[in-house]
C-alpha cells in the first residue's frame, strides 16, 4: 500500500504547489513581470496568519489578515516598484533584480519582526488518521485538495465570465490593443497582482500548519512556482494547476524507485525535460516568429 500512501501524499503536496504556482502564473501571464517576490508574498501571508492566529483571534481573522497583507504587498509591489521601473526603462532584467532584492529584504524584515526561528501553526487538522490499512491522511490534505479545486474553478469563472477577467486575458494577449477599448493596462496589471497575491494565501496558511514556517521559505516557494509555470505552459492557469499536482505526485512517487535524496531533483529533471522537449509547456502556446 506504499504506492497509495505516496500517491495521496503527492496529491496533498501537489495541491499546495498548484495553489502557489497559479498566482505566479497569473501575474506572469498577464503582465510579463517576473515577480520573484511572489515567494515573499507567500512568507508574508503565512507569518501574518500565524501571528493573528497565535494571538487568539481565530482562523477566520487570520485568513482575513493574511489576505489583506498578501494583496496589499502585491499591489504595492506593482505600484511602487514595477510601475516606476517600467515607466522609465521597462527592462525585464531590471524588474527581476528589483523583485529579487525586495524578496531578500522582506525575508530579513520578516525575520526581524517575527523572529528567525521555525514556527508552526498548531492544529489537530494536521494530524493524520488511518483511513485504510497503513494509509494515513490528515484532514488538511483533503482541505488542500479541495482548496485547489475551488480556487481554480473560481478563477476560471472569474476570467471567463466577468468583464475584469476578460480584461486580464486581453492584457495577457495584447496590452497595447486594450487601450483601444478604453482600458488601462496599468490598472489591469494592479488587479492581476492583487488576484495573484490573494491566490497564495490558502497555500501559505496550510503550509504553516503542515510543514511549518521560517523566513527563508520564499526561495523554495519561488522555485516550485517557476517550475510549475514553465511545465504547465507560461500564462496557462490550468497548466500551472496540472503541473503543480504533477510535480507533487512525481516528487512523492519517486520514493518508490529512487533514493529519497533525489526526490526534489525529480522536479527539476521534469522541468529540464520540458525545456528540452516541449518548451511551451503542457498547455502553453508555441512561440511563432
Amino acid at each position: 500500500m506504499l504506492w497509495l500512501q505516496l500517491a495521496i501524499t503527492g496529491l496533498q503536496v501537489g495541491a499546495l504547489y498548484a495553489l502557489t504556482a497559479v498566482g505566479f502564473s497569473l501575474i506572469f501571464g498577464c503582465t510579463r513581470i517576473f515577480h520573484f517576490a511572489h515567494g515573499a508574498t507567500f512568507v508574508l501571508a503565512a507569518y501574518v496568519f500565524y501571528y493573528v492566529e497565535s494571538q487568539g483571534y481565530g482562523t477566520a481573522a487570520g485568513v482575513l489578515a493574511a489576505s489583506v497583507a498578501a494583496v496589499g504587498f502585491g499591489v504595492l509591489m506593482d505600484r511602487l516598484v514595477y510601475a516606476p521601473i517600467q515607466r522609465h526603462e521597462g527592462s525585464f532584467f531590471t524588474v527581476f533584480v528589483a523583485s529579487f532584492g525586495i524578496g531578500i529584504a522582506v525575508q530579513n524584515l520578516v525575520g526581524m519582526v517575527f523572529g528567525r526561528s521555525f514556527v508552526t501553526v498548531t492544529t489537530p487538522l494536521s494530524r493524520s488518521v488511518e483511513v485504510l490499512d497503513g494509509v494515513y491522511v490528515s484532514p488538511l490534505a483533503w482541505i488542500a485538495v479541495a482548496c485547489a479545486g475551488v480556487f481554480f474553478l473560481g478563477l476560471w469563472f472569474f476570467l471567463r465570465r466577468t468583464n475584469l477577467g476578460t480584461g486580464l486575458r486581453a492584457l495577457a494577449d495584447n496590452p497595447e490593443l486594450i487601450r483601444v477599448f478604453g482600458l488601462s493596462p496599468r490598472l489591469l496589471s494592479t488587479y492581476a497582482f492583487a488576484l495573484g497575491s490573494f491566490l497564495v494565501v490558502p497555500a501559505a496558511v496550510i503550509t504553516g500548519a503542515t510543514a511549518g514556517l521560517n523566513p527563508a521559505l520564499g526561495h523554495h516557494v519561488m522555485l516550485i512556482s517557476l517550475a510549475a509555470t514553465i511545465v504547465g505552459g507560461i500564462g496557462s492557469i490550468g497548466g500551472a494547476l496540472v503541473a503543480g499536482f504533477g510535480l507533487g505526485l512525481a516528487e512523492s512517487l519517486a520514493l518508490l524507485q529512487f533514493d529519497s535524496q533525489w526526490t526534489e531533483a525529480v522536479t527539476f529533471a521534469i522541468l529540464f525535460l520540458f525545456i528540452l522537449l516541449r518548451p511551451s509547456g503542457l498547455f502553453g502556446r508555441a512561440a511563432t516568429s
Binding site: 506504499l2 500512501q5 505516496l6 501524499t9 503527492g10 496533498q12 503536496v13 525575508q107 530579513n108 525575520g111 523572529g115 528567525r116 526561528s117 521555525f118 514556527v119 508552526t120 498548531t122 494536521s126 494530524r127 493524520s128 488511518e130 497503513g134 494515513y136 490528515s138 503542515t210 510543514a211 511549518g212 521560517n214 523566513p215 527563508a216 521559505l217 523554495h220 516528487e251 512523492s252 520514493l255 533514493d259 529519497s260 535524496q261 526526490t263 526534489e264 531533483a265
Partner: protein, 376 residues
C-alpha cells in the same frame, strides 16, 4: 595660520598612529549563520559569545577592550570562505569562532595557511577532529554522541531496529557511518537510511517510507528549521516510533515543539547546578541577560571566547604578541582550562573531551536521564 593648524593636526594624527597604545584592543571574529534557514543558530551562538566578551571586559582580563566581529556564513561553506577571507585579510583577527561541519571544513585550510585559530562550538562532524593544529573543537563530536547513545538505546530502552533520516552532508554521512558501525556491536540494526537534501521541506513521503520499515526508533540527523520540520511531519503522518537525535536539537524552539515530547537527544554533559564559580556566574548572568536558561551551544561559544581570553591573558603576561601561532603554542603548553562545566583539557587533535549526556524532552525541556563517559 590655517596651514599651521593643519600641520599641528596632521602631526598629532601621525603621532597618535605611529605608536601603538599601551592597552591594545583585541578583536576576534565569528562566522555564524545570521540569515537564511539556520539563522536561529546564529542568535543562539551569539548570545553565549557576547556574554563571554562582557565578562572578559568587565574583569579587565586583557590589557585592552575585546570585541567580536561577526560575518554571516548562512551556514554555507562558500559564504563562510568569503567571510573568513575578510576576517583574516582585512580585519586581521587571530582567532575565529566557527559553526557547522561544512562551514568549518571549508574555512580550516584558510585558518591553517594564515595561522589563525578557528574554534568550532557547533558542528559535530567527526572529520572536524582532523582539520589541522589551528582548528579546535570545544564540543564533543557526533561520533562520541552516537557512541554514547547507541548502547542506551538498545540495551536500556530495547530499541533495536533504527531508521536514519539524514541530511546528505558531512555531518549526516558521518552519523550514518557511526550508526552502521555501532548498532551491530550491541545487537541493533540500521534497517533503513533515508537521505534528504538540505533544501527539502516536505517529508510526508519520507514518513510513509519510515512507517513501511516499522522501526523501533528513528534517528534524525539534520539541523536548523529542517530538523523541526522532519519531527513535526513524522508525527503528523502517523510515525509513532521513538524519535532520537543529536545535540543539534538542543535549542529552545525545538524542545518547545509539541511533537518533540518524548524525543531522546544527546548533548555534552554540563552540570548547570554546579557550584564552580565560572559555571555559576555564566548560568546566573546568562539567565538574567536573556531571560532563559542556557543550553549547550551557549556554553560552547562562551567557552570558546573565554578560552581566547585565558590564552591571550597568559600571552600578555609573558609579553608576547597575541597571534594565532602564539595562541596555539600557549594552548598546547597548558594542561587544563577552567571553563563553564568544570576544568577541561584538549586532546592532541585539538578536540575537547566531555562526557555525553542523554536527555528526554519532557514538558518542552530536556531532562537528563543518563551520562556516559565515552573518552575511552
Amino acid at each position: 595660520m590655517n596651514t599651521f593648524r593643519l600641520c599641528i593636526v596632521v602631526a598629532g594624527l601621525h603621532l597618535a598612529t605611529a605608536f601603538p597604545s599601551q592597552a591594545a584592543d583585541h578583536q576576534i571574529g565569528a562566522l555564524f549563520p545570521l540569515s537564511g534557514p539556520n539563522a536561529t543558530y546564529g542568535d543562539i551562538f551569539m548570545s553565549g559569545a557576547d556574554l563571554a566578551v562582557d565578562h572578559i571586559n568587565a574583569d579587565e582580563l586583557l590589557s585592552g577592550e575585546l570585541s567580536l566581529r561577526y560575518e554571516d556564513s548562512q551556514a554555507l561553506p562558500q559564504r563562510a570562505v568569503v567571510g573568513m577571507t575578510k576576517l583574516v585579510n582585512v580585519d586581521q583577527v587571530p582567532y575565529v569562532l566557527s559553526a557547522f561541519t561544512g562551514v568549518s571544513k571549508a574555512i580550516s585550510t584558510l585558518a591553517q595557511r594564515n595561522q589563525v585559530v578557528a574554534v568550532n562550538g557547533g558542528g559535530v562532524g567527526p572529520d572536524l577532529a582532523q582539520l589541522g593544529e589551528y582548528f579546535w573543537n570545544v564540543i564533543p563530536l557526533a561520533n562520541l554522541e552516537v557512541r554514547g547513545l547507541v548502547p542506551y538505546l538498545v540495551e536500556e530502552e530495547g530499541l533495536k531496529n533504527v531508521v536514519l533520516i539524514y541530511v546528505d552532508d558531512p555531518l549526516g554521512q558521518a552519523i550514518r557511518t557511526e550508526l552502521e558501525t555501532e548498532l551491530p556491536t550491541v545487537g541493533g540494526t540500521l534497517v533503513d537510511a533515508l537521505s534528504v537534501p538540505t533544501t527539502a521541506q516536505q517529508f510526508s513521503g519520507i514518513a510513509a517510507k519510515v512507517r513501511a520499515a516499522e522501526p523501533d526508533a528513528v534517528y534524525i540527523a539534520s539541523y536548523g528549521a529542517q530538523q523541526l520540520q522532519i519531527v513535526k511531519q513524522l508525527r503528523d503522518n502517523g510515525v509513532d516510533a521513538q524519535l532520537v537525535t543529536y545535540s543539534g536539537y538542543s535549542v529552545s524552539e525545538a524542545l518547545a515543539l509539541p511533537e518533540s515530547e518524548g524525543l531522546i537527544y544527546t548533548t555534552q554533559s554540563v552540570d548547570y547546578d554546579s557550584d564552580d564559580p565560572v559555571t555559576k556566574r555564566f548560568v546566573d548572568d546568562y539567565t538574567a541577560k536573556y531571560g532563559r536558561a542556557p543550553t549547550a551551544y551557549n556554553v560552547n561559544y562562551y567557552n570558546a571566547v573565554r578560552l581566547f581570553g585565558l590564552l591571550a591573558h597568559a600571552l600578555e603576561d609573558k609579553g608576547q604578541a597575541v597571534t594565532g601561532a602564539n595562541l596555539l603554542a600557549e594552548r598546547m603548553a597548558t594542561d587544563s582550562f577552567d571553563l563553564v562545566g568544570g576544568t577541561v583539557s584538549f586532546q592532541d587533535d585539538g578536540t575537547l573531551v566531555a562526557p555525553i549526556q542523554i536527555n528526554i524532552v519532557t514538558d518542552g525541556a530536556g531532562q537528563p536521564v543518563a551520562t556516559v563517559d565515552v573518552a575511552d
